[in-house]
Amino acid sequence: MKTKKKLNSNTLLLLITIVLFVVMYAAGCVMYSNKGFTHLQTFLNILINNAGLLCVACGMTCIMLTGGIDISVGSLIAMDCMFLVVGMESWKMNAVVLCILVLLIGLVFGAIQGFFIGYLQIQPFIVTMAGMFFGRGMTAVICSKQVSVSTNELFLKIANIKIKLPFGSYVNSKGIEQIPFIRVPVVVALVVLVVIFLMLRYTKFGRSLYAVGGNEQSAIMMGLDVKKTKLKAYMLSSFLCSIGGICYCLNTMSGSVQQALGLEMDAIASSVIGGTLLTGGVGNVIGSFFGVLINGTISSLVKTNGKLLSSWSNIAVAALLCFFIVLQSVFAKIKDSKK
């Protein structure tokens, strides 16, 4: 007898996301084929622009698996960028040392948040909201002006590396051959994606994240240290966020108080669109990857159009988020009624 794998609601959500991305991108290709939307480089640019977001979304997915939420990511990125830039420009420090320091800051930031959430049992939202304002304020404390990297050679060199792909080249209208390329942050982000995917699937910690989110009571009864798992999850999220911050800084080469404003919304939206349940226990970083791609495609469509106000991309993402939240709750209701 053949064992047929049944399509459950979670894989269905992921499938909807992938189909939505393909449809959206295809629509873009048809509508804007004269503006170069069909070239491979457009797709790669979406990746390049959203490398930081991808790292953050991976962390966010891990948090949301435990049933929590982390809205401090946007301001943590702003703080990281500001720290990096000011460190390089004003304090003349080594870029590598600074990057390690930034990662450490992320770990400590996450540990404090995780302690409040795991051990003091305060709602994740309140704690990370305080974290969000703390990060934004600290950014202003480090430096309240907009600064940019101009002297650090190592950092500039890393930021300017073009990794050329061996395929997909084309000749543009001026007769120059364009070779599609990606930058360092994309490689970093993809490595993060693969590592987190493997971690969630095969390690003890990854499985315990699912267990805590699925049902905290049963997780405790199973003998899992829920508090420690939550602490670790928030540390992981802030750590990945710091990696994202470095990627972000490599892209923008600047730091300002207003940087990455509202990034937390994009990260959460990406995770939710990617099929991560807000109640926890269900989700996958592959879905989040497609969520990020959808996010990037929307803003790239709005930009390519050129006539639309930039707020349209905000509204479109929010509308999609709304759609998926409603879809999730409908699925949950169907599941309940089956029981």
């Binding site: 939420i69 051990y119 003091l120 304002f133 703390f134 600290m138 939240i325």
Partner: protein, 355 residues
């Protein structure tokens, strides 16, 4: 020792204590700066209007106080917070100004529609946003924070669209009234007072306050007891939206323009902070409106003090974040249990020594 315990266990202890603390800091700062020690409290009449730092705190704090009324109900009934209030403020301000000035007009002195229509439409817009949040939370059982996250991002963007990405100025005295002066008292204070009075009467004279608390304490039990839990939660969100609408109109009138990018920025944090400072549990259930209001003005006093001491607006969130963390940590059950354990140990040790 016993008296101290009695005092600290009072509901309004935390907000009043914080308020007094801020005032102390002000007095010390004044003495340090060489001013008259009580210059924080002096109220005078200049140019026919009330003047003084205390009045300033009351005036500037009105928006947060109005928001905090709605936020208290939302927190109490659904154990969640409405983080969209700041964005909704900016949306309702934008909608009101768009109606008054006409679409695409960036500066005007005569109104296209009657003032009352514009203002009511702005407040109604807030109410619609609140209903949307309420529908998601009560109807679809979405986590409150995530449900309100949608409007947190979208409302500001919609406001920008309504204003065609412009800052709409309305140079009309009748519109400036809401952020200006009513006689010699600043109008925002009056509006906030009216909002508080109406809500307080509604909660006291009807059973609504009791219903909200019971839904917050146990949603299922209240439903079994015959309350329509989802309807009450929906109502709380709608009220919260209306409050945000009113606050948005006041904020727009204060600067006589709809600046969608800046109106209501990070006000949601202040409103939630006010609720927490007021001694209300963020986990829902029992609430005290008086505490919230004291909390709201305390926050404004903190902001004013920080600015007076010379901290920039961009840096002020650091202090607020630390205050929030301390307050929620004090209220956290594990912390309370820890303190209780320690005091029990101490009494045991004392008892042992006496024997």
């Amino acid at each position: 020792m016993n008296n101290v315990k009695k005092l600290t266990s009072k509901r309004l202890f935390l907000p009043i204590f914080c308020m007094l603390l801020v005032m102390m800091v002000n007095i010390i700062a004044d003495i340090a700066a060489g001013n008259f020690a009580f210059s924080f409290f002096t109220i005078s009449i200049r140019n026919g209007v009330l003047y003084g730092r205390l009045i300033d705190v009351l005036n500037r704090g009105s928006e947060v106080a109005i928001l905090a009324i709605g936020m208290t109900l939302v927190v109490s009934a659904s154990a969640g917070t409405d983080i969209s209030v700041g964005s909704v403020m900016s949306l309702s301000a934008a909608f009101c100004c768009m109606l008054l000035a006409g679409y695409g007009v960036s500066s005007t002195s005569d109104l296209q529609v009657p003032l009352l229509v514009g203002v009511l439409a702005g407040i109604l817009m807030g109410g619609v946003c609140g209903c949307f949040n309420g529908f998601l939370v009560a109807g679809l059982n979405v986590q409150p924070m995530v449900a309100t996250l949608i409007l947190y991002s979208a409302a500001r963007a919609i406001g920008l669209l309504l204003c065609n990405n412009l800052i709409v100025y309305i140079r009309n005295e009748s519109f400036q009234f809401f952020g200006g002066y009513c006689g010699f008292i600043p109008t925002p204070i009056v509006i906030a007072a009216v909002c508080v009075a109406v809500t307080a009467v509604l909660l006291r004279k009807t059973a609504l306050g009791l219903y909200i608390q019971s839904v917050g304490i146990n949603k299922k039990a209240s439903r079994i007891a015959g309350l329509n839990s989802s309807k009450i939660i929906f109502l709380c969100y709608a009220v919260c939206g209306i409050c945000a609408g009113i606050a948005g109109i006041v904020a727009a009138s204060r600067i006589s323009s709809a600046d969608s990018n800046n109106i209501g920025m990070s006000y949601e944090m202040d409103a939630i902070l006010a609720v927490a400072l007021g001694g209300n549990s963020l986990g829902g259930g029992k609430f005290s409106l008086a505490g919230t209001i004291i909390g709201a003005y305390t926050i404004q006093a903190i902001t004013t003090t920080l600015l007076a001491v010379g901290v920039s607006t961009a840096q002020a969130p650091v202090f607020k974040a630390v205050i929030v963390l301390i307050i929620v940590a004090i209220q956290a059950p594990p912390f309370k249990a820890f303190v209780k354990q320690r005091s029990v140990k101490r009494t045991l040790a004392k008892g042992g020594a006496a024997r």
